[in-house]
Subunit: 162 residues, 2 copies
DNA sequence: TGGCAGGATGTTATAACATTACAAATCAAA
DNA sequence: TTTGATTTGTAATGTTATAACATCCTGCCA
């Protein structure tokens, strides 16, 4: 009975649900990892998948609960290590204000990404603002500083909550 | 022997050391508090003073240790409550990335302030960037969002560390 | 002047977030 | 097949922040 067309029900509670966009995303990240001499291991893949499936961001211990559904022995360390890896590779970001982690949808970090965090529903939106970020980079440079972090986070009420 | 000119030594270990700029700053904040129907009580004043004296920012528990020198019975709550008040009034900011608190040196928050946080020496620099912040406000508004937080924090290597 | 209402502070406990340190497993290169 | 590097397991602990409830202080007004 476990034919292809009831995979959805069979794996309903699994992290690896059928999802074209997700598959494509993970494949792409996997490829990028290889070029960076880094391995997207099962734990890391699971964490990144969860982040992808929750655009509003997840807290470390929320992530832990979900990971436990597949790896009952997961510990805080399990999650934090995967997150450290993903952030080091530029595949995920931490929203400091809320201790929230999000998947990154950018190809490069030549310019930083702008994150709008809604204080009400806590949704995280990654805004595309090239000229603004370009200007930011210039201004910061003029002040003698050197950008080191690919994320800029701002608290802003989202359209739905406003 | 406690005449006016050895006050400095008498109170060396006190938070209220002689400091013209500090006095002026606190007076100004005190006045602003009054117009906002808020009271700059001794605890709050002490916390704000400490923040003012540490432009690189302070962590809540560092603050707690220092406050304890004057109020030995201070608890985490003491500090967090004062910080909540100061932030609510716009007199202090939290740098989310590092759990660092800083005094605010701005008069108004019509536009947000830009904070550069050095990842190496952790110094927090408040950059004046009116056109940039104006542009930010516009762009965020165009996206249908509404700015709610007066601070924008960025990780950037400071001139000294670079 | 006494008592009440609100805000501020004291106190204890605990929740939420994150790291350290060391052991065991995995895996690929020599 | 040994070795060394990377990843994962596990336990303990460290750090950051809040909850809940008691008490104190202050201004008001009956």
């Amino acid at each position: 009975m476990s034919t292809e067309n009831n995979d959805f029900f069979e794996h309903k509670k699994k992290i690896h649900i059928k999802n074209k966009k997700l598959e494509h995303y993970i494949e792409e990240i996997d490829a990028r990892a290889k070029t960076q001499n880094a391995a997207l291991t099962p734990v890391r893949r699971a964490v990144l998948t969860l982040l992808f499936l929750h655009p509003q961001g997840l807290k470390a211990y929320e992530l832990l609960e979900k990971i436990k559904e597949e790896r009952s022995n997961a510990k805080p360390t399990t999650v934090y290590r995967a997150l450290d890896f993903l952030m080091a590779q530029g595949f995920a970001h931490k929203i400091g204000r809320n201790n929230l982690f999000v998947a990154c949808h950018h190809v490069s970090h030549y310019l930083p990404s702008l994150f709008l965090v809604c204080p009400k529903c806590r949704t995280v939106t990654e805004l595309s603002a090239i000229p603004l970020m370009q200007m930011l980079k210039t201004e910061v440079g003029n002040a003698g500083f050197q950008l080191t972090s690919p994320e800029v986070e701002i608290s802003a009420l989202c359209p739905a909550c406003a």
